[in-house]
Amino acid sequence: MDGLDIPLNHILFISSLLFAIGMLGLMIRRNIIFILMSLEVMLNSAALAFVAAGAHWGQPDGQVVFMLILTVAAAEVAVGLGLVLQVQKRFKTLDMDHANRMQG
């Protein structure tokens, strides 16, 4: 703690930047793989924020949540990739703009 005293706000700023990057990625990428990656970035930005906040308060809770987030992200992506396989098989493309049968 002593040598590396970065203010909480700075880390929050970084993490929000990451969050924004992830969000942007979600919005502009069409490929489902990249979309999933962007989601990872968003989740990790949250995780980073938790770690930083935990450090700020001197509690272990932040890091516990970090672990949980990793697990959750893994689960999401696992299911996600499973679906991606199906998408590739059915739609013959990974471009999500083509998956719009349902509308209106």
Partner: protein, 473 residues
């Protein structure tokens, strides 16, 4: 930790046990029937368990809050799941032999929902929500035929994950501001944190609201709803509409009230905007919808808008009445929606044309009981007296009137007036002379229709016992 803690956790434990039993069973012999029976037994046991647990209400660690209120919803959700299970049987039986996993997913999802309902901590909220959600993705994508389930599932997955990220980030901000992860802790610290850094608290809460709002499909986070409702098998749609949304709303209420967030006008205003947008947009979207499942999706958007009024009102009046209103509304909504989906799933085919309102034409004349049930459900959703939906609306309006939320009430009136149109369209379609006689109903369909219809009517015409019961929660 003493034994009573475990007793308090009975429902969760039973559900978990059921999940394990299913897995073991799957490794021994994969059998559809056995799996469904195990799930049914597990659900019934956990239902009894939730009644049993009411003798041991207490906070279970810092994560879960087992009290009468959450146990009531636990029971309600499990009962709803039982009905969903019965609907699923029909959906998945004809599909072939390799569908047993569905039951595992179902029970896991229910488990997630129960955790969510009892959560008193961000971590349990996260776990519950994700457990419920991840299982749901797969349930949605379960049918092999057609592209729609897959499309719905992938949309739901991506959007839901995005919402989770928002939620988590919001939690992180709140944690950063308050230093606490449990609701009570947040509630205790929030005032101080607000003074130090109001933006952190408000932005964090707003992001949490956004994340939760997504799950509730509140406008403007509603866009996924119709697509997922339509794409998913009807039973799963029913699950999504009742169990998932109900559990999330319970969690939201707990978070919002225990976290003392209702005292911040900015948040209240933000919620109010969400509510107004949902009431209006949901109803307008439903107005000329031809697909009954999409119609129900839009209608649910509006209903959660109405429900938010009660939540907003807790800034102004006694929490007791607010929580009663929420309890009543959610119960009424869940029962009514189940009734609707029970009929839709037994009548409508699992293809796009079969789900059109037109396909319901003449239902009154060849399946009068189910048509009556759907009529009652529609009237209840529209809030006509003698149905549960009316009493629910009565609660919400009372709460709104007492807190002088005139703008929200105006939106409610406009929304409800618009809504009458599309609910009536469904009824009108059923009353038309039938062109093609659809399939006949089974005794089971009829029984289910009667039971649910009776519940809706009973809640609406003789609500006093239930209100009295709510008073004890």
């Amino acid at each position: 930790m003493n034994a009573s803690v475990f007793y308090a956790m009975t429902p969760i434990l039973v559900l978990s046990g059921t999940a394990m039993a299913l897995m073991i069973q799957a490794s021994i012999k994969r059998d559809h029937k056995v799996a469904s029976i195990i799930v049914a037994i597990g659900l019934i046991l956990s239902l009894l368990g939730s009644y049993y647990a009411s003798n041991f209400t207490q906070p279970v660690t810092v994560l879960l809050q087992v009290d009468n209120w959450s146990l009531f919803f636990t029971g309600l959700i499990i009962a709803a799941s039982l009905i969903i299970l019965s609907l699923s049987l029909k959906t998945f039986l004809p599909e072939g032999e390799r569908k047993e996993e569905y039951y595992l997913l179902l029970i896991l999802s229910v488990l997630g929902a129960v955790v969510l309902i009892q959560s008193s901590h961000m971590v349990s909220l996260l776990l519950g929500m994700e457990l419920m959600g991840v299982a749901l993705y797969v349930m949605i994508a379960f049918p092999e035929r057609g592209d729609l389930p897959l499309e719905g599932a992938i949309k739901y997955l991506v959007l839901s994950a995005c919402a989770s990220a928002m939620l988590l980030y919001g939690f992180a901000l709140i944690y950063a501001a308050t230093g606490s992860l449990s609701y009570i802790g947040i509630g205790a610290e929030v005032a101080r944190a607000y003074e130090q850094n109001p933006v952190l608290v408000l932005a964090g809460s707003a992001m949490v609201l956004a994340g939760i709002g997504f799950k509730l499909s509140v406008a403007p986070f509603h866009m996924w709803t119709p697509d997922v409702y339509e794409g998913a098998p009807t039973a799963v749609t029913g699950f999504l509409a009742t169990v998932s949304k109900g559990a999330v709303f319970v969690a939201l209420t707990r978070f919002y009230i225990d976290g003392n967030l209702y005292q911040y006008a900015g948040l209240t205003a933000a919620l109010a905007v969400l509510a107004i947008a949902s009431m209006l947009i949901g109803n307008w979207l439903a107005l000329r919808q031809e697909n009954i499942k999409r119609l129900l999706a839009y209608s649910s958007i509006a209903h959660f808008g109405y429900l938010l009024i009660a939540l907003i009102a807790c800034a102004h009046i006694d929490i007791q009445l607010v929580s009663q209103s929420i309890t009543f509304y959610l119960t009424a909504y869940i029962v009514t929606t189940l009734a609707a989906f029970a009929v839709v799933s037994s009548v409508a085919e699992e293809d796009v044309r079969g789900q059109e309102i037109q396909a319901l034409e003449g239902l009154f004349w060849y399946r009068p009981l189910e048509a009556s049930a759907l009529t009652v459900a529609m009237l209840s959703l529209a809030g006509i007296p003698l149905t549960a939906g009316f009493m629910a609306k009565f609660f919400v309006i009372t709460v709104g009137v007492q807190s002088h939320l005139w703008v929200l009430l105006a939106a409610l009136i406009v929304g409800s007036a618009v809504a009458i149109y599309y609910y009536l369209r469904v009824i009108f379609a059923m009353s038309k002379p039938c062109k093609v006689k659809g399939k006949a109903s089974t005794g089971f369909d009829r029984t289910l229709a009667i039971i649910l219809m009776a519940c809706v009517l009973l809640l609406g015409s003789w609500p006093q016992p239930f209100i009295a019961y709510m008073g004890t929660l």
